[in-house]
Amino acid sequence: MINKAEILIIDDELQMLKLLQIALENEGYKVITAQSAKEGIAHAINHQPSLILLDIELPDLNGQTVLKKLREWFQRPIIILSVHNSEDEIVNALDNGATDYLTKPFRTRELLARIRSCLKRNETADDTTILKTGNLEIDLSAHVVKLNSELVKLTATEYNLLVLLAKNQGRVLTHQFILKEIWGVGHQTETQYLRVFVAQLRKKIEPNPNSPVYIITESGVGYRMS
């Protein structure tokens, strides 16, 4: 399998950089590496990579700042790598425009899956009217949701929530982001509504609501559509 996608890795740990390079090249990706924020930003400008892996702790510049700087012009996926399992930091990074995050240590399989899903999403054009995941199908133009080809009855809010998640398939959406998008500015702290609607939605679309396969919980951070 040959992937042509070019991936930029920005990480100050040489060992990590090397291992990631081996793992990604083995999958057919082209890899560029940078050991500092400055170098990384320069590489991003020169190479226009398809995806960036960004370590949040860099010696010369805070990772969140690097993220904001990149996001001023870089539209493609950025996956954050971090050793801190801190929910605040993750939420911050997602708010600053990160597409996804992984906490070190992570499994290579997990990283590759996230990269694939990020790249795939980037390819799908914005004007698609039918979103599909597993046996779930959402027809945006007809406002219709089908599970195993059978119609699912959803309320307006449930539908909006499902569409928001599906449009960002694979991506973690923070509680605050979802609340802002669905309920509007000023409702970002009312996570109780979110909990209720996610539970209802799961009852309607999940084969087994107790172990969801479509709407995945990201503890303390948000939800992700698989």
Binding site: V196, V198, S211, G220
Partner: protein
């Protein structure tokens, strides 16, 4: 301290008043002995300053109200002056001796505490060095064999070595995660990030992870449709529940069943985790949540931190965690956390 001053003053005054009205019976020397006795008793119970104050106060009162001529601080005879001086000396000696005894007691206690700490650290280092070095050793041996084992290694042994490296890495990760969690709790700087929590969702999420890692273990959980949303730090509570679950998995036989129940009222929530294993030895229950305490120190896989982390997390929530053995066999952990609940219901 202020309380002690008030108590000693009241004792002296009450005693003095009682003696004053029985002067006919007691004369004026017996009250001195009675007051002195009360000072001696107080020296055993109270701090040094209230007792010094008490000694002075009682001496002055005795002088003023009892030594003739009464109602003056004037002391009439040499005899009485000597008595007053003696009174003062005996009271002072009492105070000094008592405070010395106290100091020695404190030193002895400190020494005992220091010994306990040393013992704790020894346990810590033994437990840690074992639990960290074992996977580390496996990692190094396996990678070294792969690196320098040359071409003699069969494909299947290579695979086995690689699997060992992965397993050891995961084990190290678990141990380090636990240590970090423990030090976070110990530092006392942990801040709760409370948010509306769906306990059913939280527990299902934990179980999904466990079923992946321990596919052979039977963990039973039935959604409770009658509980509201609660204000909790979901991330931390997850760690607490995971640690109790892991404890049940590691220390019960493979065929033992584990059962989780979530319940609660408007102002508190409860989570109980029980198993059908052998339960805890009776004399171990009191120590189960202690740091680095392990029922069987020789058994590997844990650091003796899991349950104390669980307790730490529940306690920062102002909740309680208890452990008991069920009469039908097995252990039962109960978490109870007082918290606000939402009037919104998930189940309609």
């Amino acid at each position: 301290m202020t309380g002690q001053f008030i108590i000693v003053s009241s004792i002296v005054i009450l005693l003095a008043v009682a003696c004053f009205f029985s002067t006919d019976l007691l004369g004026y020397q017996v009250p001195a002995l009675l007051l002195l006795m009360s000072v001696s008793i107080a020296a055993m119970l109270f701090d040094i300053w209230p007792v010094i104050f008490m000694a002075t106060l009682s001496a002055l009162i005795w002088n003023f109200f009892f030594i003739p001529p009464t109602f003056t601080f004037h002391v009439g005879t040499t005899n009485d002056a000597l008595l007053l001086l003696m009174y003062f000396l005996v009271a002072s000696i009492n105070v000094v001796l008592m405070s010395r005894i106290r100091r020695f007691e404190r030193i002895a206690r400190d020494k005992q505490e220091k010994q306990n700490t040393v013992k704790l650290y020894n346990t810590l280092f033994n437990s840690l060095s074992h639990e960290l070095k074992t996977p580390l050793a496996t990692l190094l041996v396996a990678s070294d064999t792969l690196n320098h084992g040359g071409n003699n290694l069969s494909e299947s042994s290579k695979k086995e070595l690689l699997a060992e490296i992965e397993k050891s890495g995961l084990r190290l990760q678990y141990q380090i995660e636990n240590l970090l969690n423990m030090s976070r709790i110990e530092s006392g700087t942990i801040k709760l990030k409370k948010d509306w929590c769906d306990l059913n969702e939280l527990i299902n999420h934990i179980l999904a992870k466990f079923r992946e890692t321990y596919p052979n273990r039977k963990i039973d959980f039935e959604e409770n449709q009658n509980i509201p949303l609660y204000q909790l730090d979901g991330g931390l509570l997850e760690i607490a529940i995971e640690n109790i679950l892991l404890n049940a998995i590691l220390y019960t036989p493979e065929n033992a069943e584990i059962r989780i129940v979530a319940s609660g009222k408007k102002e508190y929530c409860e989570i109980s985790i029980s198993d059908t294993g052998p339960g805890f030895p009776k004399n171990e229950i009191a120590f189960a949540f202690d740091k680095f305490h392990r029922v069987d120190p020789m058994k590997t896989g844990g650091t003796g931190l899991g349950l104390s982390i669980a307790r730490g997390i529940v306690e920062v929530h102002q909740g309680t965690i208890t452990l008991e053995n069920i009469t039908s066999g097995g252990a039962l952990f109960k978490i109870k956390i007082p918290t606000a609940s939402s009037s919104l219901s998930i189940f309609r």
